[in-house]
Symmetry: C2
Subunit: 335 residues, 2 copies
Amino acid sequence: MVAQRAGVSLGTASNVLNRPHLVSDPTRARVLRAMEELDYVPNVGARQLRQGRSHLIGVLVLDIANPFWGELVGGAESVAFDAGHVMIVCNAGESTVKEDFALRALAEHRVDGLLIAPVAEDEDRLERLQRAGMQVVLLDYPSSRPTLRSVAVDDVRGGQLAAAHLLALGHTRVAFVGSTTIHWGADRRRGVGRAFEEAGLDPAAHVLEVPTSALTTAEGERAAEVIVAADPRPTGVICVNDVLALGVLRGLHRSQLRVPQDISLLGYDDVPFAGALSPPLSTVQQLPFRLGETAARLMLDAIGDGSEPADRHIRFEPELIVRDSTAPPPVAGLR
Amino acid sequence: MVAQRAGVSLGTASNVLNRPHLVSDPTRARVLRAMEELDYVPNVGARQLRQGRSHLIGVLVLDIANPFWGELVGGAESVAFDAGHVMIVCNAGESTVKEDFALRALAEHRVDGLLIAPVAEDEDRLERLQRAGMQVVLLDYPSSRPTLRSVAVDDVRGGQLAAAHLLALGHTRVAFVGSTTIHWGADRRRGVGRAFEEAGLDPAAHVLEVPTSALTTAEGERAAEVIVAADPRPTGVICVNDVLALGVLRGLHRSQLRVPQDISLLGYDDVPFAGALSPPLSTVQQLPFRLGETAARLMLDAIGDGSEPADRHIRFEPELIVRDSTAPPPVAGLR
DNA sequence: GAAAGGCCTTGAAACCTTTCATTGAAACCT
DNA sequence: AGGTTTCAATGAAAGGTTTCAAGGCCTTTC
């Protein structure tokens, strides 16, 4: 360390920063002044090497450019930063190989904790990582392993709320837009099915699955074409997230279909713009910012004192937000 | 390094990773197998200590939860990740003290490069950081210092485009919503003024400034109240970004004002949802994803070979996107 | 058959911290 | 006055990696 320009041993200089009470006032002042003069900036890498803490938190999400994940990351960032940690952000982009690369990179950086929205759902691997010293919190993934932690919203419930809403309005033929390869897609799909069963309808006959290859507006527009061309055409559409719903909405507009008069549309997430679409989008609320905050806190508790939270698996209840994009189906006779 | 379990010196083990050609095939295989068995993960901190590269890129933006910055960060992430770097993301949140903290944290982590949207516009400090070894690229900030690099969109031009559009429609009294304490706010404001001057109108008399304390929908709604109450009431509104415009739109709806029949509204950014608002929002396009990619590339070139780009300051031209939220002002006699 | 040259491998130094046992000096106690 | 405690400061070790000069052995060359 260059701060021996203060004429003091390097051990003392270190103490000035880490245990100030161990060093006398005059020396401390001298060292601080020297640091000032030399523009000294501690090297976190070296510190990590010695004491094993990197003060880094890894975040691995599907797509930071997606508002849902953006907000979630924002919530986590605010909590982590206040606690003196900074965040490394990686995108998995729904690809397991990117996820793999990113996980490796984060491990190499010896992050203290990992906030991950898993693509490949390899909980064993995550447990291994945790044993290797990085605390893992699963995002939006309802694990139940006692060793891991998680923060999620009950997606089955959310799907059920959405479908029940359409059923209550009188819809009996509904399209489900989105990938079900990711767990929460599958859960929401399952919730939809459950609602149909509870209404005494066979999901296989009444729900049209429209798979998408990505969660983008472009894919949503493509899905709209499929829906418009379907025979019989569904009277309601449930999208696995709002971005997709936005694309579907555009596609439906392009096909001259009016929402909700001709067809009802439900999103999922309640991103900030949902309430101001044309028409305002009915959707299922998730509050990602709060999810991020909660996850970060769970993680920091684990890193900090290793204290045990009341519950390692926090589950939020989704809430149906009814706006103007859903209405009773058109009366058949009038078409 | 624990990989001497392969019965080889640690220097050799290191060579396996960094200069594989220097080590014989059988030894290499043996070492690789040992790494496999021991679940070896290189420690980037230690490497950084030795060779001075952290393979970290710091990103400091206003608010990662804002779609504009989210996309920008997404673009940068994709480029950086492919080049083997990972990103540390911090929010400055329009606060210079947070920015200060974050800059310090990033310096402590010895990031190789810094992508920053400056709040406190202390270019001297950034130059100092760059001399200390971290390449700096300014985001959305049109610096002209030859030592720094920057990627920006011409904001004066953007403001001018927006105002000229409203003027051409016949509006002569316009509100400008947003903070002008940040440079790009001021630039857009200046562009608006310039357009009025070119039309032979005194900006001071024809532009109503509605300052906001943050770039949120809530502040936008508040601004809408101010506009509605103004006398004479402006017939057109230019917002400094789309999020704010979204808030204004909600506020105007709440006050029973129709857009664009009663009042025209222009946003700025063209975030993904802008085209699907009610009504579709006319706005000025910025393409943040491309901005992020470009910035990351500029930075990686600087880090990598230190090669000199054709131009250290890249300036994109904004583009006016006319949708349905702007129309001629209402005819006075009809009110 | 010895010297020279190539190819692999080794060992040590350096990077910057933190930690901890040790020392020195001063103050306190009996 | 001698011994003990306290407070400050020191010096060395350790942590995981890269780099580099030096060494060992084998092959080639004359």
